[in-house]
């Protein structure tokens, strides 16, 4: 049986230095599902200034509805759990805002259960919570969601494995190269040291960038607790010229 102690040892003794970017290496065996799903050949660098990936898909007002950003209002009743808001700004590495782009989130309910067939652990579903949200960023790169704080949940990486509470984020930049799918965590979670997915980011400072900050100025009296989480997208983009 693969125990938490075994995984802890693998995490502590992981021999590879962190990627300078802070991104996880794709071959990170403590997360067992990565073993057969990462390439072993080096990536091929594309130098073409006209590469299609330096542009990217665009989204607009027809791609979202007003209700998408409030996950607590998508059903007849209210979901159970701790109501929260999550907001922040999305920029590129030079600090320029990502404007009018699509942000998508998905998450477990307050009990740690996903409305997905393969999540069969014995925690209750919530008929008033789907856990899916979308919005477009504003002119300053800002996004905002109202939701419920997700619960931690067990998984089968090893015996007694638990994921810290997290919200999945999918973000588009101004170029396809800047595409990002990641997970936002909540401050002070006691499960952080035990989770090989979070620990796949082997640089401690980079891991901190995945953890939202509780911000009391964003909390609303008698209503919700506020978290702030800013996102910085990697990757080059073309400078757009009118043709």
């Amino acid at each position: 049986m693969l125990t938490q102690d075994d995984i802890d040892r693998e995490i502590a003794e992981w021999p590879e230095p962190p990627e300078p970017s802070g991104h996880p290496r794709r071959d990170y065996a403590p997360y067992r599902s990565s073993v057969l799903r990462h390439p072993k050949q080096a990536l091929v660098a594309v130098k073409d200034p006209d590469a299609a990936e330096l542009r990217g898909p665009v989204f607009g007002v027809t791609d979202v509805t007003a209700l998408d950003a409030d996950l607590t209002r998508q059903h007849a009743g209210e979901p159970l759990g701790e109501r929260i808001t999550v907001e922040g700004r999305i920029t590129d590495r030079r600090g320029r805002p990502i404007r009018g782009q699509l942000v998508e989130i998905w998450q477990a309910n307050a009990s740690g259960r996903y409305p997905h067939q393969i999540d069969d652990h014995p925690a209750p579903h919530d008929p008033n919570f789907s856990g899916v949200g979308r919005c477009l960023t504003g002119e300053d790169g800002s996004y905002r969601f109202t939701t419920i704080k997700p619960g931690a949940y067990p998984w089968r990486n090893h015996h007694n494995a638990w994921r810290p509470a997290h919200i999945h984020f999918s973000v588009f930049g101004s170029a396809f190269t800047q595409r990002l799918v990641t997970q936002m965590y909540f401050p002070g979670d006691p499960l952080f040291p035990y989770d090989p997915v979070l620990r796949s980011v082997t640089d401690a400072a980079a891991r901190e960038r995945l953890i939202a900050a509780y911000d009391h100025t964003l909390s609303q009296p008698e209503w919700s607790l506020g978290y702030r989480w800013d996102i910085v997208l990697d990757g080059p983009a073309a400078t757009w010229t009118e043709s």
């Binding site: 970017s21 660098a45 007002v61 190269t177 910085v232």
Partner: protein, 174 residues
């Protein structure tokens, strides 16, 4: 001044009710069909991979258009692209057999860009589908892994291997 990027994390196994959308692989009608399977390093189909496609229009334009997830304002349901504009963006999840399918137009610049997400993949991967050999596929090792194979009129097969002897070429952009 540059800011350090937010690290990637795996898409995990539970994206299926959030990211795929109806008609996600139907970029255009009357053009070409590209389909294939995603395989892992043991040669097993990957049933929980998500593929995104970004491409030029038939005329080579990379402007794209909004509306890939066009919504019904009454129900909120995705009602799909209206078809007059070419959005250039598609998204499909693999099925239980690791299979996916895209209906689109042949891109004017020769290739379809692919971004791959999967449970077990901690950081997405970029690759390309070329409909015929060209300077780029000829200039790199294993360039043949980027070539779609014609199956019948307008239908191409392109399999993606995450690891192993047939490993697909994956790309990085500096």
């Amino acid at each position: 001044m540059t800011f350090p990027p937010t690290p990637s994390q795996t898409v995990g196994p539970f994206y299926g009710y959030a990211l795929p959308f109806p008609g996600g692989g139907d970029l255009a009608t009357g053009g070409i069909t590209v389909h294939g399977q995603v395989f892992d390093g043991a040669g097993a189909p990957v049933p929980d991979a998500l593929l995104e496609f970004w491409q030029a229009g038939a005329d080579g334009s990379l402007r794209g258009a909004p509306g890939s997830l066009r919504r019904d304002p009454v129900t909120g349901a995705v009602i799909g692209r209206h078809g007059a504009d070419f959005t250039g963006f598609g998204r499909v999840s693999t099925d239980a057999d690791g299979h996916w399918l895209l209906r689109t137009v042949a891109p004017g610049n020769g290739y379809i860009s692919v971004c791959v997400f999967a449970r077990g993949l901690l950081h997405h991967l970029f690759t390309r589908i070329y409909l015929r050999p060209g300077p780029f596929t000829d200039s790199i090792e294993r360039g043949g892994t980027l070539l779609a194979v014609p199956e019948s009129a307008g239908v191409y097969r392109w399999d993606l291997w995450l690891q192993g002897e047939k490993e697909t070429v994956f790309l990085e952009f500096g």
